[in-house]
């Protein structure tokens, strides 16, 4: 592995992901290869629906590892992301063990003695049995390694970002009562962000930064081919060409790869053989998610179809 030439190794990553149905550009493959080699998380940014989350799934499937997903949202804190004490269990145990406690402490003559005896086994209730591991801790405890997906990190608070820093750089967390837990096998960490807010420099510094934009026409055709096998080549070309034209408009939300795939499925279901104005207008709501966008795009449909068909002839 180490002796392998990097370019061939990167190609291997590309084909490995392709086998899982994820067509990666060279940039993506390089990022995946590098993150494995220098053990760094990847921070993936890009518009919604370009396959950021898919990438993590594909890597997990390709390497045959478990994927642990942490969905971020506002107000997410360490109790939900990292670990939590099973408070109710602790309480229950103390209630059940009340009599036992009485026995143990029965021998003590003074309050001071009783306290000293309590100190000796006080830590029992703050041991591993009472820790409820949440995704981050789970990821560190996987013996065979795993893919840890921290999804939409931009939705979480700035404090949570700082919490991640220790995990991202050293693959370990510190639990005050238990000490430091290090990863058995460093997990492959993927963070995704929709750039809703700027992430802190400290977080960015610890990651490889990968930006996935809208794919170019060739690549998108290959993606559609792998995801929707039933579609004919002409239709595929036309629809991808059409979508590329649509993306040149000023829209509130541009159609991304996931919309392309959905649309391809719809077209296959409707048994279309090639694009025409009628069918496009009927299915435009699959591509565009705002009424204003559909209105803005509708007048251009005919010209775009013509353009897509023409490029098909020459391409």
């Amino acid at each position: 592995m180490a002796e392998q030439k990097p370019s061939t190794a990167i190609e291997a990553v590309e084909s490995g992901l392709a086998a899982q149905g994820y067509i990666a550009s060279r940039q993506i493959a390089t990022a995946v290869y590098l993150s494995q080699q220098i053990e760094k998380p990847i921070l993936v940014e890009g518009p919604a629906g370009v396959g950021k989350t898919e990438l993590a799934k594909a890597i997990a499937a390709w390497r045959g590892m478990k994927m642990i997903r942490l969905q971020c949202y506002e107000g997410l804190d360490e109790a939900k992301a990292l670990y939590e004490w099973k408070y109710a269990k602790q309480l229950l145990y103390t209630q059940i063990l009340k009599d036992k406690l009485g026995e143990v402490l029965g021998g003590a003559q003074t309050l001071h003695d009783a306290l000293n005896q309590l100190h000796d086994f006080g830590d029992v209730f703050f041991s591993k049995e009472f820790v409820e591991p949440r995704p981050l801790l789970q990821a560190l405890e996987q013996p065979g390694g795993c893919v840890l997906l921290i999804d939409e990190i931009d939705k979480s608070d700035a404090e949570f970002e700082s919490l991640l820093l220790e995990i991202l750089s050293d693959f370990q967390v510190t639990i005050p009562e238990l000490g430091t837990v290090s990863a058995i096998t460093p997990p492959t960490v993927i963070l995704t962000s929709n750039s809703e807010r700027d992430l802190g420099d400290a977080l960015k510094r610890r990651c490889l930064h990968l930006h996935i934009g809208f794919p170019e026409q060739r690549l998108e055709e290959r993606i559609v081919e792998s995801r929707v096998p039933g579609i004919s080549q002409t239709l595929r070309r036309q629809m991808v060409g059409f979508i590329h034209e649509i993306r040149s408009l000023d829209l509130k939300k541009l159609p991304s790869v996931s919309e392309t795939i959905d649309w391809a499925r719809v077209l296959v279901l409707l048994q279309a053989t090639e694009l025409d104005t009628e069918i496009v207008k009927d299915t435009l709501n699959v591509l565009l998610k705002y009424e204003a966008d559909i209105e803005a795009a509708a007048p251009h449909v005919t010209t775009f179809i013509a353009k897509a068909a023409r490029s098909n002839v020459f391409g």
Binding site: L34, L91, D201, H209
Partner: protein, 462 residues
């Protein structure tokens, strides 16, 4: 290669990509993994490890292309000349003065006793020349180049380091003894000069940008906003956006934060009353933190308009930090402009505001009356009111009593005055009368002062 990478990091900093030592170490490790043989992989690798946003990626990509394309033209020029010439070189070689004559110099005609530079030039070893230029630019510390005016001195430093002095002496000698060879050497020297000039120009493009940009921004930050030139307005807007970003990053913290570890005893007891006080459910103390609410009242008459423009731009770029902003503009009467600013681009918005209320002589009294009549209800005890204006009311009634009421209803009243403290109270300035009701009065004429003022206002809510 290490040396080259370090130079590249410096160049990357020049184009605005922040490369910290830790990042450069990461990049080094990554490059060590992928090797340097494949340029596209190397480019991807550096982009992945160094750039942290899409803008930075673009900038860094350009920088990479510029940086690593550098050796090519230098090598190619002599080579292509060489190739062209060598086809038909045999007889012509001696008469054509410049590069063509170099062609068969490689055949070992170079006479003995010449200096290393002359040997190198005559033998047309372009790799050696390229290497010599590179090492000479290292010796002349080309990476320290800062201004375009330094190009001459760096060129001559590099040439000196390569041994130009000796070459000149030899040229003088040869002109007497072997004119043809001297002619050829002179031509080669001209080509060398050109190559060095290109190198320096590229060095300037790569390394000087950071410094030049810093210098320009520094000047811009301290220039009076009211008097900046038209062509600088766009740059100023960019600078204001930068300031807004900085403020956003500093102050956009969540409003509520749970303070774990501080038990709220009262709420816990109440919540667990059903279990006889055994605390199954715990309640923790919370701390509420308000986001700023801002009401901005801006004078848009004559000299103050430009400052108001930038101020409004800044305030309205602070969405994440500021809960809500109401902006009002006035010169002789007052209107609300929040919607215009939210919906339109800064240029259009300002044009519309100016057409509605601009170009009047300012009348603070009647504008304050307008505000009290219609918009007094926007003020809450959490609001900071910011008035931006020079308080020059053309000797009309200033109505300071309204300002007093505004100040009583709001959390703070901040007055930003583009004029210097010295001018307050002279002529028709009503500043001293207004100042008594303001929590803070400060001068605000440059971008830097603007940043400080807004930063202070936001900070009081933290």
């Amino acid at each position: 290669m290490r040396e080259n990478l370090h130079r590249f990091f410096r160049a990357a900093r020049g184009v605005g990509v922040h490369v910290s030592p830790a990042e450069s170490i990461d990049a080094m490790r990554a490059v060590a993994q992928v090797g340097v043989s494949d340029r596209t992989i190397l480019r991807d690798t550096l982009l992945l490890t160094l750039a942290k946003s899409q803008d930075e990626k673009l900038a860094l990509g350009d920088c990479f292309d510029l940086f690593f394309s550098q050796p090519e033209p230098r090598e190619d020029q002599p080579q292509s000349d060489n190739d062209d010439a060598s086809q038909d070189a045999d007889q012509q070689a001696n008469q054509s003065p410049s590069s063509g004559s170099d062609s068969d110099a490689g055949e070992g005609q170079a006479p003995e006793g010449l200096g290393p530079l002359a040997q190198m030039l005559l033998s047309q070893d372009r790799n050696a020349i390229a290497a010599a230029i590179a090492s000479a630019s290292g010796a002349a510390s080309l990476t320290d180049i800062r201004y375009s005016t330094q190009r001459g001195i760096f060129s001559s430093r590099i040439l000196d380091a390569m041994g130009l002095q000796r070459l000149r002496d030899e040229l003088d000698e040869l002109t007497a003894t072997n004119p043809a060879l001297a002619e050829r050497l002179r031509g080669a020297l001209d080509a060398l000069r050109e190559a060095v000039r290109d190198t320096v120009a590229q060095g300037l493009a790569l390394y000087a940008r950071e410094e030049a940009e810093n210098l320009r921004n520094e000047i811009l930050r301290n220039a009076p906003l009211a008097r900046i030139e038209r062509r600088q307005v766009a740059e100023m807007r960019a600078l204001i956006r930068q300031i807004a970003r900085r403020l956003r990053e500093r102050y956009s913290k969540p409003r509520k934060r749970q303070r774990r570890g501080h038990l709220d005893v009262r709420r816990t007891l109440r919540r667990n009353a059903a279990w006889g006080g055994v605390p199954f459910l715990t309640a923790w103390k919370r701390k509420h933190r308000d986001r700023p609410k801002i009401v901005a009242i801006c004078d848009v008459s004559g000299s103050v308009a430009q400052v108001s423009d930038f101020f409004l731009l800044l305030i309205h770029s602070l969405h994440e930090v500021v809960d809500d902003v109401h902006s009002f503009a006035f010169s002789s009467h007052l209107i609300e402009v929040s919607d215009i600013l939210e919906k339109k681009s800064p240029e259009e918005a300002m044009a519309e505001i100016m057409s509605k209320v601009g170009f009047g002589s300012s009348d603070y009294g009647s504008s304050l009356v307008d505000f009290e009549k219609e918009f007094m209800s926007t003020l809450t005890p959490q609001t900071t009111v910011i008035v931006l204006g020079d308080a020059r009311s053309n000797n009309l009634d200033p109505r300071a009593d309204i300002l007093r009421r505004i100040s009583e209803r709001s959390k703070r009243l901040v007055w930003l005055n583009p004029e210097g403290r010295l001018a307050w109270g002279f002529g028709d300035s009503e500043m001293p009368r207004y100042a008594t009701f303001c929590s803070v009065v400060r001068q605000c004429a440059t971008a830097q002062q603007l940043e400080r003022a807004v930063s202070d206002i936001v900070a009081t809510y933290q």
